[in-house]
Subunit: 341 residues, 2 copies
DNA sequence: GACTTTTATGCAATCCTTTGCAATAACGTT
DNA sequence: AACGTTATTGCAAAGGATTGCATAAAAGTC
């Protein structure tokens, strides 16, 4: 290597300071215990001046701590997950950790592959954004191997998690549509392996039941979670039951797809058919027909999830946490825009 | 530590195989040179069976290669950047690398901080998604320190990059609106430090000039790059010049904001005012008024950018690369939907 | 002032792989 | 049969930081 970057090592700093490496090491450690204030000051100054940066590989090798955490998400190009990850990563960085994030596309095979890559990298813990209700091998492996982990976005009974109170969110959406007098509802329910979708749908349905109204099974459509899926499910619903007056979609992307379907059926979202989404992605307000939706705190969820993981790593307990959702009423449900932007 | 995860080390594999660690190491390396086929087979089998995974820290310490690359982007929760990153990361994974990705929010101070974190982590190269035209300290540092890097999304003269041909993209948008007879145009031009925005605008304007039409300066608005910014700039344009018949926005998020502004001014996007965006994010087709836009290959850009970085790391040359944009005509420009979905 | 306690620093081992060099064994050649 | 090759494997050092233990110096005690 002709142009080796030649980084400064601790020995060089120590040599220059006229002390032993061990002294230099201690002086630079956060709890510079047993080192006189003057040498601490001197060495830190010298290290700074020489541009010394500890070699993470050497430190990891010695301490067994990689300083790296893993994050698995279904899809990072989904705003919701990206935003959660931003919260996760910001918090990790603030605590001196870095994160590896990987897409799993909700594919069980890919999930295990990605998990193994993370474990091979010796991550100290994992934030899991794609937990599955239908027998989640990944969480089982994590539990068995005693790797600290926290679920975000989706949750599983008996595992540490930070999620939105999705049952409550579903109820909010239902209460809103009930208040507007809708009694013939379609639901784009998303995939059945995602707790988010199941709980939102359940909350919605139970609120209607509480009002003495039931939603027929053929008007609750399992689906994907993106705009295309929303479009397809929306089309099916409108064809199957043309007299539906409102559609609840388990997230905003699907809701946007639903609006597209409504338009293609020659109707107008918000006037002819009410649409309610979930998450309140930033675009929601700015859509030609602003979207009524249930706001969830994505960034905060990531932040809290990472905090919980850091606690777990330190051996502290981590009770599951629910974040409260808020209804944002806008034009797509034909309501007077209470939520505003 | 009562519950140390006790990972299997190479010594244990070697001991169990009855060979020296060095033999085991060589047997497991991809080019198992100088080791008999039989022992290679035996040791690999044993390693697999024992669940051996090499310690990346130890390997990195010895070889000086961390196996990690860095990625800096303005904002990962922006679909465009997330999608580019997915391409980057997928390609890195396929080559045995992992990536650290960080948001810089287009903030110069944050950029330097994030860069230093990546360098402290000993990344072997960096993909930069947020290069700035107004004197980019980060690329200068990378160049000076001889850290391999590739620009994606935005480019800078004289630096390796993979970007969309944004001038051409701007031309396509302009040609489309010219064809539809629009001669009074507003432009939501985005930030002036981003080559994407500058080049798209320049391409657009030059195409109009070529057609003998000029666009007045006060109808070209510098702005942010998200929906809010698009909304604000759109509002300003519509108030300033009510007789504008078409607006070109430098990306789809801004375009969606513009459509919101148009609607709030009591007009209908696509009928009263044509809107053209850029990138063709998946939502674009499914909007209540489907968005005419210039498609760019985001995933591919990430993939190509990472390939180029890997080449650079191996010392191969890396000429800048331009990807061709494609116009997707939809309802927001009032055109008969040629582009389809 | 002799002795204990505290404070500050040095010593050396350790973490796990990788790799240049040495050594041995197997093979072929004339 | 003696010797040069080639094929395998072992040896040991290196890479950079951390940390328990030991030592030396300083401070404190009666």
């Amino acid at each position: 290597m002709p142009n080796a970057p030649k980084t400064v090592t601790l020995v060089e700093v120590a040599k220059r300071a006229g002390v032993h490496v061990s002294t230099a090491s201690r002086a630079l450690s956060s709890s510079a215990s047993g080192i006189s204030a003057s040498t601490v000051h001197r060495i830190r100054g010298l290290a700074e001046e020489m541009g010394y940066e500890p070699d993470p590989a050497a430190a990891a090798l010695r301490t067994g701590r990689s300083g790296v955490l893993g994050v698995l998400v279904p899809l990072l190009s989904d705003y919701v997950l990206a935003r959660i990850y931003e919260g996760v990563d910001a918090t990790a960085l603030a605590s001196g950790y870095n994160t590896f994030v990987s897409n799993t596309k909700d594919n069980p095979v890919l999930r295990k592959e990605r998990l193994n890559e993370l474990l091979a990298r010796r991550v100290e813990g994992i934030v899991l954004g794609d937990a599955r209700l239908d027998g989640d091998e990944v969480v089982e492996i994590l539990k068995r191997k005693r790797v600290p982990y926290v679920l975000v976005n989706r949750r599983l009974r008996g595992h540490p998690s930070v999620t939105t109170d999705d049952v409550q969110g579903g109820r909010l959406a239902a209460a809103h549509l009930l208040e507007l007098g809708h009694d013939n509802i379609g639901i784009v329910a998303g995939p059945s392996y995602a707790s988010t979708c199941v709980e939102r749908t359940h909350g919605f349905v139970s609120q209607y039941l509480a009002a003495g109204l039931s939603i027929p099974d053929h008007q609750i459509l399992e689906s994907g979670a993106d705009a295309v899926a929303g479009y397809r499910a929306g089309s099916t619903l409108l064809e199957r039951s043309p007299n539906i007056t409102a559609i609840f979609a388990i997230n905003d992307s699907a809701a946007i797809g639903v609006m597209g379907a409504i338009r293609e059926h020659g109707r107008t979202p918000g006037r002819d058919v009410a649409v309610v989404g979930y998450n309140d992605i930033p675009l929601a307000t700015y859509l030609p027909v602003p979207l009524t939706t249930v706001r969830s705190s994505m960034f905060e969820m990531g932040r809290e999830g990472m905090s919980m993981l850091l606690n777990l790593i330190e051996g502290k307990p981590a009770p599951p946490k629910l974040l409260p959702p808020v209804l944002m009423a806008r034009a797509s449900s034909g309501s007077n825009a209470t939520g505003g932007r």
